[in-house]
């Protein structure tokens, strides 16, 4: 009898607690930047695509929902000719983001991805690419890599000496 009274009292006290329920969609809960929602492709500080089509996201994906094809443009950069994510298969696990060596692929706190038709959940490169750098500002892969691209010749990357003169006799 006593325990039942205590229970009723506790339920009553809960009436005055702060409400957990949010009036979604009028009100939106706070989702941290690290939240794993819709995937985007970001750009480097110079505004170029960060993705170098290395295929590591695709191979890390446990549901195999990322497909892309590498192409090399005239400026020497590797880029995806197409980059497709089938969000109807995606489980938002974030492994692609962890695998990405260039910070190109990032998960965002946007979780509102509902469609009546599954095929509308297939995102191509133009749907995925955003104009900013996302969560990791300041990183540019090609500044670190050894290959030459337009605007960065051999020896001009960070931590690189100028190209060796093979015909020099000095060691």
């Amino acid at each position: 009898m006593w325990s039942q009274l205590v229970t009723i009292w506790r339920v009553f006290v809960h009436l005055f607690d702060k409400k957990d329920t949010v009036q979604y969609p009028e009100q939106k809960p706070y989702l941290a930047p690290r939240y794993r929602g819709r995937i985007v492709l970001t750009r480097d500080p110079d505004g170029d695509e960060r993705c170098v089509a290395c295929n590591l996201c695709a191979v890390a994906c446990p549901v195999d929902c990322i497909a892309l094809q590498k192409t090399e443009d005239e400026d020497g950069r590797w880029r995806p000719a197409f980059f497709r994510i089938n969000f109807s298969r995606c489980i938002m696990c974030g492994l692609c983001e962890e695998a990405c060596p260039t910070y190109a692929i990032q998960l965002t706190p946007d979780v509102e991805m509902c469609e009546y038709e599954r095929k509308n959940l297939v995102y191509e490169k133009e749907h995925l690419t955003i104009d900013g750098q996302g969560k990791y500002p300041g990183y540019s892969f090609y500044r670190k890599a050894g290959i030459a691209i337009k605007g960065k010749a051999k020896g001009e990357a960070d931590q690189e000496k100028p190209p060796v003169d093979v015909r020099s006799l000095l060691p």
């Binding site: 191979v59 590498k70 590797w78 051999k154």
Partner: protein, 920 residues
């Protein structure tokens, strides 16, 4: 066998090998870079360090390098102790100090030996804080891309290129941290084996350029065991596919044939399967048609006599189906005038003597090459012969108590211990320049000398009435007599059957110690000779038949050189022509049925040895394409002919084996064995690659009873003990170096699934071939024109691969400087012979026999004369026009390459719907 202790565990290993080889044979993981199973040890990288202990009581031990240490009885080593593990990690750490941060944009990534070894040693964080060295790259031609920053200076590239393959335009330059591997200046790598650098380099310094243009990671590609289609050696290759198009060919280890290396024609020539010139549609009088069209059905079903023209570029099955459909009496093998005699003789010789495999060639201690330039006609064979030239030096170092695999020691004594190479023939080539005994002569003289040489070796051998043995022949006789393992090589290139007969006679004179090899021109020439054993229709007979009665022609056209000249003639006279075509061609055929390329269907061919080899499809057929035999079965059903009851390839092969008993159970597979998955376990993108077309993922399509599946379902390549591997992979070994996990020893017993039977049993006792006067003394006026081949350009199929098209040379006419003086010509001038429309560039060479000229004519052009009297030299205007035409053509090649590239990228997104649904 000796007993050694590794990490206190006893193992039995075979004697004479080094410790690294022994560890790898035992399937232990020991990292290495500079060692290569085919190239021996030099101990340059220090990566395979292990600790050796004196005895059981010794606990300190000393560090040794496994690849330089021979195994000894009772040897005690440890691989996984703290000292050696730390040492190996530090070696990698040092190698990585200047290695760029390139893996995501490196074409080697995912199959990189350096990546594998780094993971294996446990090195993960860079300790070096200084700046990295950088290098400028070189342009090395359309086949290979150079990215020097990635080099770890293991020296494998120059050891392969210079020592193994005999090239001399790639070298190590500068020193210490400035060490550079490249050419003197930018330019195309000259060696015909340069493509192997891609696989030899443990990291991404040399990468495959055409593959890089349409790139995919190794883990993403569906692979299939296949056979190279560009010469009669039949090297084993592995074809890789992604998004419906074939991406590259890589070496597939075969203990008997190619071992670890391919030639560039084989590695890059496959690309014709992606050519925009591939037939994709049924055509009726040049217009696209459908199978159901009444007109087409009427034409294909029409009665009357049908004559079939086969092709030595088509598979055994296709040719057999055609032969069955039209009947043996209406089957013409589609050869030019000289070839039937060669084919017949080659068949006879195959029935008398076994042919040497490439592995056996490498054991030879004296080599005779009679009138054949194998550097061009069968390049992989030339590479094997080159290795045989080391044998005396290997014996020498062994007599000095140095192991045979000490490569540096072997090269040291090589100049004083050459293996005698005897060369009868003409033209400059790598092997010719290394010949100890050389005789410059045309094919007729070479054959005559061959006969005389046999006469010197045995008294019973028939010799020609005229002619005397040259000094070189007597030298050769002496060498061959004293040799333990003489090797005799000849071929079809010169178009002279006397050369084959001479070789067979020398083989008989030398007895069973000698080995013989005859290079046929095309991949299935020997297969065709098997089919026509019981009779065939000669070209002359076909012409006659065409004149006498209305005949329907059914042509199996795989663009083989031999058949091209013949075909155009025949097609004109036929009542109607049905072409089963691989590549688009000008000229009007009444009906065209597109056939699937070798990358899209299963088939078999017989190589120069008589070895039956099959390939598996790597990709799906597109458009209206079907395998040749399948079209023929449909035709048989329409015409109610004997082939009509065949349902699938298995039944056709069964029929084929019934007709040719010696084929036996070549194709028999165990139906209870699970199928092998062609896609690697980490194949990615399955739920997205088709999603732009449909979000409903199709069920993986699978051919009934196929031993391979184009999906991930099926057993792993590691667990198929009896079937050839589609690709080579082992956990921790992503590169092609993983092949040692499947081998017992280097070039030891064959890999699983490589025990193929030989189609020609040696049931006939050997006989002497008699000299026939018509083999020489042919009447001729003016200068004799001898055919010369080039590695790129002489093979019509590989010429459709854009990278090779870019490299192929223009027609050339070689002459001696004396003759050029006499004719008033200079090197580089453009010349016409006897009013033939073909312009050829004159070249000077000492290696031209007297009274002869050497002519190289690309496969897509023709020079239908064998001798000529008059020459016309192009004046300035004409020369300019020729140059302009060539420039225009090269422009066209580059343009086509561009359009093809964008077309391929477009295709990647639209994998054909037949592929999607698996309908067939």
């Amino acid at each position: 066998m000796v007993q050694i202790f590794i990490d206190k565990q006893a193992y039995e290993v075979s004697e004479g090998q080094n410790l690294l080889q022994a560890c790898l044979s035992l399937k232990l993981n020991l990292p290495y870079f500079c060692w290569h199973p085919a190239m021996g040890s030099v101990g340059a990288c220090r990566q395979c360090a292990v600790t050796q202990y004196k005895d059981e009581a010794d606990t300190r031990g000393k560090m040794i390098v496994a690849c330089m240490t021979p195994v000894e009885e009772g040897m005690r080593v440890s691989l996984n102790g703290p000292d050696e593990t730390h040492f190996r990690e530090q070696v990698i750490a040092a190698l990585m100090t200047h290695h760029p941060h390139d893996c995501p944009v490196c074409a080697e990534g995912g199959e990189c030996h350096l990546q594998d070894m780094t993971v294996m040693t446990g090195h993960y964080a860079r300790q070096f804080k200084g700046r990295k060295t950088s290098f400028n790259n070189q342009y090395l031609g359309p086949l290979i891309k150079h990215e020097m920053n990635r080099c770890i200076t293991c020296f494998r590239c120059v050891r392969f290129y210079r020592d193994y393959a005999g090239g001399d335009d790639l070298s190590a330059q500068a020193s210490k941290n400035h060490l550079y591997f490249g050419r003197q200046s930018d330019g195309v790598l000259e060696s015909e084996f340069a493509g192997n650098l891609v696989e030899v380099c443990p990291t991404g310094v040399f990468t495959d350029k055409p593959f890089g243009d349409h790139y995919s990671r190794k883990w993403d590609m569906q692979a299939a065991p296949s056979i190279c289609q560009h010469c009669s050696v039949g090297c084993n290759i592995s074809l890789s596919e992604r998004y419906g198009s074939v991406r590259r060919a890589t070496n597939r280890f075969d203990a008997h044939l190619n071992g670890y290396f391919l030639c560039d024609r084989g590695r890059y020539g496959f690309d014709f399967v992606n050519s925009p010139a591939r037939c994709q549609q049924i055509r009726l009088r040049g217009k696209p048609a459908r199978w159901q069209d009444e007109q087409l059905q009427d034409m294909l079903g029409s009665s009357g006599r049908w004559i079939g023209v086969g092709s030595s570029h088509a598979s055994l099955e296709d040719n057999f189906a055609l032969q069955q459909l039209v009947g043996a009496e209406n089957f013409c093998p589609g050869l030019d005038d000289a070839q039937p005699a060669l084919m017949k003789l080659h068949g006879e010789i195959l029935q008398q003597y076994p042919m040497a495999s490439l592995a056996e060639m490498e054991q030879a201690d004296a080599v005779l090459i009679l009138g054949e330039d194998i550097n061009r006609s069968a390049p992989r064979m030339a590479l094997a012969v080159r290795q045989a030239l080391l044998n005396k030096a290997r014996d020498k170092v062994e007599s000095l108590k140095v192991p045979r695999w000490q490569d540096a020691a072997v090269r040291q004594v090589l100049p004083d211990n050459p293996v005698p190479l005897i060369w009868f023939g003409y033209g400059e080539s790598e092997l010719q320049s290394r010949a100890l005994v050389q005789c410059l002569c045309d094919d007729q003289e070479a054959a005559r000398q061959g006969f005389l040489l046999a006469g010197l070796l045995s008294e019973e051998a028939p010799v020609p009435q005229t002619g005397q043995a040259s000094q070189q022949s007597s030298q050769a006789a002496e060498i061959l007599k004293n040799a333990r393992n003489p090797l005799l090589i000849g071929g079809w290139s010169a178009g002279n059957p006397a050369l084959l007969a001479a070789l067979a006679n020398i083989r008989k004179a030398l007895g069973d110690k000698a080995r013989l090899a005859i290079a046929a021109p095309e991949m299935n020439s020997v297969g065709l000779s098997l089919l026509i054993q019981s009779g065939y229709l000669t070209q002359g007979a076909v012409k006659e038949a065409l004149e006498q009665e209305p005949v329907n022609l059914l042509v199996l056209d795989h663009q083989s050189q031999a058949s091209q000249s013949v075909l155009t003639l025949l097609v004109k006279k036929a009542r109607q022509t049905v072409r089963l075509g691989l590549l688009e061609q000008e000229g009007s055929q009444d009906a065209l049925l597109p056939v699937a390329a070798f990358s899209e269907c299963s088939g078999s061919a017989i190589n120069y040895q008589g070895r039956v080899q099959s390939w598996q499809p790597a990709s799906k057929m597109t458009g209206d394409c079907m395998p040749g035999w399948q079209w023929l079965v449909h035709l048989a059903r329409m015409q109610q002919r004997p082939l009509a009851d065949v349902e699938d390839l298995g039944q056709l092969r069964h029929k084929l084996a019934q007709c040719h008993g010696q084929l036996g159970d070549v194709w028999r597979t165990d139906p209870h064995q699970p199928a092998v998955a062609q896609q690697p376990p980490r194949y990615s993108g399955r739920t997205a690659m088709l999603a732009n077309q449909t979000v409903h993922e199709p069920k993986p399509y699978q051919e009934p009873q196929a031993p391979y599946r184009q999906s991930m379902e099926g057993v792993d390549t590691r667990k198929c003990p009896t079937r050839p591997m589609p690709y080579s992979w082992w956990p921790g070994w992503n590169s092609n170096q993983s092949v040692h996990k499947f081998q017992d020893e280097y070039r030891g017993p064959a890999l699983p699934g490589q025990t193929r039977s030989v189609a020609f049993a040696h049931f006939e006792s050997s006989c002497w071939f008699k000299w026939r006067p018509q083999w020489s003394d042919r009447e001729q006026v003016g200068y004799r024109i001898l055919p010369l081949k080039q590695i790129f350009g002489s093979d019509g199929l590989s010429l459709k691969a854009p990278a090779i098209e870019e490299l192929h040379e223009r027609a050339q006419l070689w002459m001696t400087p004396q003759l050029a003086d006499k004719l008033g010509m200079q090197a580089g001038q453009w010349v016409q012979c006897d009013d033939q429309p073909l312009w050829m560039q004159a070249g000077l060479s000492e290696q031209v026999p007297e009274g002869c000229l050497l002519a190289y004519v690309p496969a897509d052009e023709a020079l239908p004369v064998t001798s000529c009297e008059r020459f016309a030299v192009a004046d300035l205007q004409q020369a300019e026009a020729i140059e302009q035409q060539h420039q225009g053509r090269m422009e066209g090649v580059r343009e086509r390459r561009q359009t093809r590239q964008s077309w391929l990228l477009h295709q990647d997104e639209f994998i054909p719907i037949r592929f999607v649904e698996g309908l067939n």
